[in-house]
């Protein structure tokens, strides 16, 4: 993506804070992610990455600080509003609708406006066509009528990604897309992310798989104890002594 045509920052947090009991899961985190890039958020277990995601997407209300998307404050907005604003997300422990078919899973992400559309059939030709296209894209089209709870975990992760894409976000937040997935599927997820990025989607990916992070991302933010401690290009971050310390606990 060319740097000039896009606004510099998409998603931004300013002194974002959330604690659980005595633990400051996110601690005055100030980060800016650029639009059009593949951003990675890495950090040791329990460093607050998922909590950060939850605060940004409205699933958890932060105590203080703010979240901005393209310069507009979205702090404390309900999740569906943030989603409709163009930020899609996946969950660390993959979440799909297990008793629905794959196709029905995707149709949930269609957003009707007004009473007429609300009561229009969910299985509408245009939506089905789009959903099928996405299933082809993630390689699950042969399972379109299978129940989502019956497919493998890796396939469920792909389904979740397809669901997020169905809602047509321009920023996509993935919480450990490679977690618990077999290596060949990790490859598929990686190339899909690259393709989508080439089509203009911004990514923010939390991931422990360093190989994936280093090969995929344009920009890496390192999180420790609820705040960023380093950021930069993958190669730079890899060498940073603070990162080594946080990871190796030296």
């Amino acid at each position: 993506m060319s740097e000039q045509t896009k606004p510099a920052t998409g998603l931004e947090t300013v002194r974002l804070t959330k604690s659980f009991g005595g633990v400051r899961a996110v601690d005055e985190a100030t980060i800016a992610f650029r639009d059009g890039q593949i951003n990675a958020l890495i950090g040791p277990n329990g460093s607050g990455k998922t909590t950060f995601f939850n605060c940004v997407t409205g699933m958890i209300k932060p105590e203080s600080g703010s979240v901005l998307f393209r310069g507009k404050e979205i702090t404390g907005h309900p999740p569906h509003r943030i989603a409709r604003g163009g930020i899609g997300r996946s969950f660390q422990l993959c979440r799909i609708f297990p008793r629905m078919t794959l196709l029905e899973n995707l149709l949930v992400a269609v957003r009707p406006t007004g009473l007429r559309q609300l009561l229009a059939p969910s299985r509408e030709a245009g939506a089905i066509e789009r959903a099928r296209g996405l299933l082809v894209r993630v390689g699950l089209d042969h399972l379109e009528n299978a129940e989502a709870g019956a497919i493998s975990y890796g396939q469920q992760k792909l389904l979740e990604l397809a669901g997020v894409l169905m809602s047509d976000p321009d920023t996509i937040m993935l919480d450990e897309p490679a977690g618990g997935v077999n290596p060949s599927l990790i490859g598929r997820i990686g190339s899909l992310v690259r393709e989508l990025n080439a089509e203009g989607k911004t990514f923010l990916i939390v991931e422990h798989n360093m190989e994936m992070v280093m090969s995929l991302s344009d920009h890496v933010v390192v999180f420790d104890r609820g705040r960023p401690i380093a950021e930069g290009a993958p190669s730079v971050v890899q060498e940073d002594p603070r990162v080594l310390e946080a990871y190796l606990g030296v």
């Binding site: 997407t57 699933m59 309900p78 999740p79 569906h80 509003r81 989603a83 409709r84 899609g88 997300r89 969950f91 979440r95 799909i96 609708f97 297990p98 008793r99 629905m100 078919t101 029905e104 149709l107 949930v108 992400a109 269609v110 957003r111 009707p112 559309q117 609300l118 009561l119 229009a120 059939p121 969910s122 299985r123 390689g139 042969h142 399972l143 009528n145 299978a146 129940e147 709870g149 019956a150 497919i151 493998s152 890796g154 396939q155 669901g163 997020v164 169905m166 809602s167 077999n182 060949s184 599927l185 490859g187 598929r188």
Partner: protein, 387 residues
């Protein structure tokens, strides 16, 4: 050999197993035909019954079918189990009675209006109640009906208190059986409207959102479904239909008592009937109401006003929750599929045919086995992901 063909069938079925929808594998015409017979039976019911007592029991079952279906708009679609839906039944019933008494409205106008009033009252109640989920929502729904019970008992000037409220009959000069017959059809008509609404909602985008809430509310919200508004809308539809069922009951029965109108037991019946029949199917709550309602009426007839029906209700609820989480319709469907066409086709072939077939199977044996083995879904992962 029998074993071999069995496993082959099961593997073949395995590919289809995750297929959802729960449709029966009956011939295409059997569904509309069965429906037509059922509708005809329902419409002829008042002509077929031996006496007015059975007819009045039929009216009660029809009213149960209305309440269970109305309950299902909330409890079924969103999975929010309300044990306090009797509140809306009672409000609809009392509203109808009080509007007739105080404003001398035409009975059916009072009935219509009463439901709409309940709709409006339910907005703030729904907003408050839907702030919580799961068990907390159940408790809130119960406390709501208990509060109304106390209010309607205490506010004697307005509600008649424990003395009850007399609702004038809409058709004063009719004999009892005719009265029952008319109300049987009125309840069935109300039910038909509900089922039609159910059908529209079920296939709509709104319905898809509601079902997503039932499965994973946070996930639905994250995909952009305004879950609170959806839940509230479902709650309002559910409450209003329940109120209309209550109002109809008031016009039919003619005598209201807070103890009966605002009872947790009535709410529990709605839950039981809907779950027994199955909330994923249009006709589930209706089927559940017919089964449970008929059983309850039978118990009343056989054993009088004992507490036996409570034991029965509790046992039935336990059985349903433990063994048929999706209700009798899918359970019966699964049974049909297992016992039905497959087995009969095996029985019908002769020993010679079987031998012939086995020989043929042996010829291509290895091949068929191989295909069967890799056809199971999970193993696809490894195969084609190398790219």
């Amino acid at each position: 050999m029998r074993n071999a063909s069995d496993t082959e069938e099961r593997v073949g079925g395995g590919v289809d197993a995750p297929r959802a929808g729960g449709g029966f594998t009956l011939p295409g015409w059997s569904r509309p035909a069965g429906l037509a017979v059922a509708v005809a039976l329902v419409l002829l019911f008042p002509e077929l019954v031996p006496n007015a007592y059975v007819l009045s029991a039929g009216v009660i079952v029809a009213s149960y079918a209305c309440t269970a279906t109305a309950w299902s708009f909330m409890g079924g679609f969103t999975g929010y189990v309300s044990l306090g839906h009797a509140a809306f039944f009672g409000l609809g019933a009392y509203g109808t009675g009080i509007l007739i008494r105080d404003l001398s409205l035409q009975p059916f106008l009072a009935w219509l209006l009463s439901g709409l009033i309940v709709l409006v009252i339910t907005i703030p109640i729904g907003i408050a109640a839907l702030r919580v989920r799961g068990a907390s929502f159940v408790i809130v729904s119960i406390s709501f009906v208990l509060i109304l019970l106390l209010v309607f008992q205490a506010w004697e000037d307005f509600t008649g208190g424990a003395n009850g409220l007399n609702v004038p009959r809409p058709f004063a000069d009719l004999y009892r059986p005719d009265h029952h017959r008319i109300f049987f059809y009125l309840f069935v008509a109300l039910l038909a409207v509900m089922l039609l609404t159910w059908w529209v909602v079920d296939r709509s985008r709104f319905g898809a959102g509601l079902k997503a809430i039932r499965e994973d509310e946070d996930k639905a919200e994250a995909l952009g479904v305004p879950t609170r508004d959806y839940k509230l809308a479902a709650y309002l539809i559910s409450a209003t239909f329940t109120a209309w069922a209550g109002g109809m009951y008031a016009l039919w029965f003619g005598d209201l008592d807070p103890i009966f109108q605002f009872s947790i037991l009535l709410g529990a019946y709605m839950v039981l009937m809907a779950l027994l029949g199955g909330v994923r199917h249009l006709l589930g709550p209706l089927v559940g109401a017919v089964v449970v309602g008929t059983a309850l009426e039978y118990f009343k007839l056989e054993y009088g006003d004992t507490q036996l029906h409570l034991v029965f209700t509790a046992v039935l609820l336990g059985v349903v929750v433990l063994f048929m989480p999706d209700g009798v319709i899918p359970a019966a469907g699964a049974l049909l599929r297992r016992l039905g066409p497959q087995q009969s086709s095996i029985r019908e072939i002769t020993a010679e045919e079987l031998l012939e077939r086995n020989r043929a199977a042996a010829a291509v044996g290895g091949d068929a086995d191989g295909r069967g083995g890799s056809g199971v879904d999970g193993s696809r992962d490894g195969e084609e992901d190398g790219r």
